[in-house]
Symmetry: C2
Subunit: 706 residues, 2 copies
């Protein structure tokens, strides 16, 4: 007994020792020993053994992940029995394809956790369902929920939940702010970095079931036998976690590595090449997920090079997939060079007419908004406009336009804003989420993609709080009805502190952080006014670039009269792309939500807004209060210092200092620049910036030097 | 007593737990508990307390590093007393500028460790000397040397021992194979990554006292007030470790950030700008080290843009330094574009005439060989040719041409080959080392620079064995008379295993590894036949590039007659750049060491060599035995499996598999390609490659795709 207590003490000390230097590597799967002895005892009683349901790799993973988690949380080794074992007080893993829950059948990959015959029974409708259930059970313990009388079930609302890595073969990550790529191409396939498994574990724990491992600006390398061997090695790490590997493909691959003269999708040789290549891939990776394609976009090759359209291209790949269980995800992020029109409309104009042309197993992948992952965008007009085509929602977890790795911005509210937006495609309630999950148009397949914020930095995401965006993406992909607040608390509880008031404080900051960021960078619907090469700094004065739609003035259209892009019928009429109900809400500047105002209207500086202030005064108010809110974030963070690991607290505190500095940079840049058009003073009670616009321009220039 | 034992057990357990998952982060400073109780007791008796010599930051570091190291090694907290303490059995730190050792005065920054009055007294001639002595004392414990009767002393032979980081402001590292840059420019100055201190500690432990933090292809950002603040933050972490920060500067900075019309070194405005900038830097960083310059090289701007020469440029910067204690290191790595001559001679031809023109505090930094960090190069002809100019030896730790992070190549033998080479500049014994340390020409300043192999990968260097190259560089910079074998054993003992036979086995592999690498890649003096964009793969057939001297055929000159670059007087006469004694040795193909043969001679395929084989047969023999030696390395590594951490062992074993694969790649590429000229069969007992040259060319192409 004494010895046992002693060992426990030892475990506690080791745990304490570890938490002293929390480097963030363990993410939300920390599994530190539960310090409340009563609670620990309760859990120990309920988790005396694990009975696996079989020997398949995924079920084995489920049992082992449970064992590993319980080892940490309970400080004891919970034995795994492969065959059914009589007894009580254990965890039983069961696959039951026809499992029911109170609402009917358990959905595909869903799970149910219930007390039954004195045991905790984790039932999955598939093997992956069991794995998700195992992680859900661990989450119950991590968040200190009672197990007695437990009865919960959950099924994913979206079928394909993918991370997209914009990782290059040379180890860099396009728009990555967390170090180099986690994929070590020069080491593969011989060396399997142990980190790959930790990555897979983290993904499985939040329900992610697919990863596109390479940049959409794709290298053809991955389709060569030499690189496929490397992909095979990665796939073998992902497979036991229920994760399928996908590849971004270079459209010109048949020319670049196939030795063909063309990549014309209607050329029989090209079709034959892709078919053979696809067969080769599936021979090596039987559960290969499929292809992601960026074509005829930002200089990438595509079917239009041969007078074909996107559907021709996507369908050819769908044909190549043939009987294989795979998908084609074709990106709608296209906009012609040298456009004199409105970039807002271009993807719609190119893709809407193709609706109905896409073959089964082909999905069109659409960014959340019409431009490019701006701090806030109205939902993309393609959602609801292509009823005969399943659409994948693509959101960006990496903070390309949201402060890189120095700004604390929790993205769940932004994702939710898109997901909850009503397209009215099929009457009220036709939210983007319901378009995406297939329920509006009765599609059999559904998908969502998050552009990963993951790199080789020890803590995976650069900013420690960036982990929450990875986590929230997975949770929302699984169930978009979860609230931002719930997810924030769940994440903070598992990742940062067991202290309930501290969790609430942190979650509160998280939930407000996106609104704060937009206020000090692009309030009232301003967009695309960031630095040309550093997307986290301001450059609203940017007037010339390789393309007009890469400048800032193209978007904000500031002049002596006012500010904003007129997209009503007097302007570009992009509003007409939406259903009438949406148009009605946004068409009138006096009813248009202030957050979208300058997306759709050129508003006079002196125009009073619904807030009671003129545009100019409201703009200044948002920039100033936004920047000041970072100080509030700092204050809130300071209050949780005793409850959070010291090194991690210092890390976030330092980044908040930078964020405050950069918020002032944005504020001063924008109010001074727009003031040169508005010709009005900074309204009271705010003090004018202490620096000049030229000084800020010089600062921006520094960050854009070679 | 029981409790004490228990705590010890606990420490052992924690230590054991840590060693199970050795991720390489701790480098050679592991400080794991000494498991031999007798030895531990001896050490404990000798290290009962530490008496610091004062409160200066560097001395504080020395005491704290000792305390931290002893905490780990001995499992006990050794108290630090700031004032003198009577008693025995402690460690006393003393600064004594006039300290003597048996051979005379202790050199600058040297240390002496001796038993004295029952204490261990660590005397440094400077504060840094004390710090180096503290690390030397820890090294004694780490390598389990007896402390009783200890009496050792050491002083650095070269004064400025620098790492050069080729790190870019965007976080990439030019020629880096260990992840992204460790410097987080977007986070600085607010956030100080704890890793910076670990980096400084590692450097100080091996005597490195300066770091150039940015790429020689320099951004002007670092000279702006915005970035200087960041540099200040880094300097403040380095300072307590006796490390000074240096900057690579962009020659065009006065234009790019200074708003001047010119960067002409003789323009008074330019001089004024640099003087003011230098003053600004020293005001912020009083111990700033100075400037490193790559000018008029590979497209970089320089004084020649204004009709001035390198001395004009360097001297202007030296003037700008004025009374500040700093240096200008001006790189001699220059070669004109579109040259029809011999790149071998170009740096010599440009810099030799400038000897005597450089002002004090200006050093010319010369790569070890005349081309560019090839797997093996003869020493650079500038060594010994510029008696009036102190020369910095620049070597490359990052394995740009030595297998990136998948080949195990221990570089000490290569560094030693250069250091020990006799230039005969001032009669026999005028080795490169003695030119560099200033003794041949009586220079007051001396320097050595290693291009860092450090990145943000958890284990710092990508290949775990790359750590040994960082270590060996520091040790040789301190004392180039140390043998490669000694350093290898010392490093392996501290880093990999306490088992003496295993250490010997590992050191044996290390010492042979460079010879093996050159055999399977560029034997007999072949050079610059690597892939155009992937410098670790073969591309001897490369015949066209942006510049002729970026191809392979420019260097190997294979034809129907033979192979190699004739640099005798019948050829480019580059040999004439060396002293007659050197020329004599290398001028005759029959006496020229085989390792340098094709550097200087175009040798007929059928020519018998000193080895008894014809050139063709010797070439094939080296490629085949070289590649087979990787199998030997694998076998040797397999034998130490029980003595090395499992994860680390697996890591190296996997990389060796890749190395074997790539050695065969090199072998097959080169023998097949050269066979097309030699028109001879692969000699017995070797089997011809099973693949064709075209197949290998396709493979090389894959690795050079976008």
């Amino acid at each position: 007994m004494f010895l046992r207590r002693l060992l426990l003490l030892l475990c506690l000390l080791v745990a304490a020792h570890r938490s002293v230097a929390d480097d963030g590597y363990r993410l939300w799967l920390k599994y530190d020993l539960i310090s409340d002895p009563g609670l620990r005892k309760d859990y120990q009683k309920a988790a005396g053994f694990i009975v696996g349901a079989g020997n398949s790799p995924i079920l084995k993973t489920a049992a082992e992940e449970l064992q590993q988690g319980l080892q940490g949380l309970l400080g004891q080794t919970v034995p795994i029995h492969s065959a059914a074992k009589k007894g009580k007080g254990g965890i039983i893993l069961v696959v039951e394809a026809t499992a029911n829950v109170s609402g009917g059948a358990l959905g595909k990959d869903g799970y149910r956790i219930a007390e039954q015959g004195g045991n905790l029974v984790v039932t999955g409708s598939t093997e992956s369902g069991v794995l998700y259930g195992a992680f859900a059970l661990l989450r119950q313990l991590q968040t200190r929920q009672p197990l007695r009388g437990i009865s919960l079930s959950s099924s994913p609302r979206i079928q394909y939940r993918l991370l997209n890595h914009w990782d290059n073969p040379n180890g860099t990550v396009e728009r990555g702010y967390a170090g180099s790529s986690i994929w070590k191409w020069y080491e593969l396939p011989e060396r399997i970095d142990p980190r790959y498994q930790d990555y897979a574990r983290a993904n499985a724990s939040i329900g992610i079931n697919g990863v596109v491992i390479n940049n959409v600006n794709a290298s053809a390398r991955y389709l060569t036998p030499e690189y496929l061997e490397k992909v095979v090695a990665l796939a073998s790490v992902m497979r036991p976690y229920g994760i399928r590997v996908y590849l971004s493909v270079l459209w010109a691959a048949p020319k670049v590595i196939g030795g063909l003269a063309s990549s014309d999708p209607l050329d029989p040789k090209v079709k034959q090449w892709w078919t053979a290549k696809t067969d080769e891939i599936y021979k090596a990776i039987p559960d290969f997920g499929g292809f992601l394609v960026k074509a005829n976009s930002e200089g990438e090759p595509g079917p239009q090079d041969y007078g074909r359209d996107h559907a021709d291209g996507a369908n050819m790949l769908a044909d190549a997939l043939g009987a294989h269980d795979g998908l084609v995800m074709w990106r709608a992020f296209v906009y012609k060079a040298n456009s004199n029109g409105d970039r807002f409309k271009e993807a719609y104009q190119e893709f809407k007419p193709l609706d109905g042309r896409f073959k089964p197993k082909t999905l069109v992948q659409v960014k959340n908004g019409p431009i490019d992952f701006q701090a806030r965008e109205p939902f993309h007009p393609l959602f609801g406009a292509m009823p005969r085509t399943p659409l994948v929602l693509e959101v960006q977890l990496t903070q390309e336009y949201l402060g890189f790795a120095t700004h604390w911005v929790y993205l769940a509210p932004m994702f939710k804003e898109t997901l909850d937006a009503d397209t009215y495609a099929n009457g009220p309630g036709s939210t983007v989420a319901k378009v995406v999950d297939g329920s509006v148009d009765q599609h059999a397949i559904s998908g969502i993609a998050g552009v990963a914020n993951i790199g080789a930095d020890r803590n995976w995401t650069g900013h420690p709080m960036g982990q929450a965006n990875w986590y929230a993406f997975g949770r929302l992909a699984w169930d978009y009805t979860l609230s931002s607040q719930t997810i924030a608390e769940e994440w903070a509880r598992q990742t940062l502190t067991a202290d309930a008031p501290a969790v609430r404080t942190i979650a509160d900051v998280m939930v407000r952080s996106h609104g704060i960021y937009t206020r000090y960078t692009m309030p009232l619907g301003l967009h695309h006014i960031m630095g040309q090469t550093i997307h986290y700094g301001p450059e609203p004065w940017l007037a010339s670039s390789a393309r007009p739609d890469w400048t800032a003035v193209y978007y904000h259209k500031a002049d002596a009269v006012g500010l904003g892009f007129d997209r009503t019928e007097k302007g570009s009429n992009a509003l007409a792309l939406y259903k009438p109900e949406v148009q009605r809400r946004w068409n009138d500047p006096s009813t248009c939500p202030p957050n979208y105002l300058l997306w759709f209207h050129h508003v006079p500086w002196t125009q009073p807004l619904s807030t009671g202030r003129t545009l100019w005064n409201e703009l200044c108010t948002r920039y100033y209060t936004g920047a000041d809110s970072v100080t509030w974030m700092q204050q809130q963070w300071a209050t949780v210092k005793p409850q959070v690991d010291a090194e991690l607290h210092a890390d976030v505190a330092a980044r908040l200092q930078t964020q405050r500095k950069e918020a002032l940079w944005w504020r001063d840049a924008c109010v001074l620049y727009f003031q040169s058009f508005a010709k009005q003073p900074i309204p009271a009670p705010f003090s004018p910036p202490e620096r000049t616009l030229d000084e800020i321009k010089r600062l921006v220039t520094i960050y854009q030097l070679r």
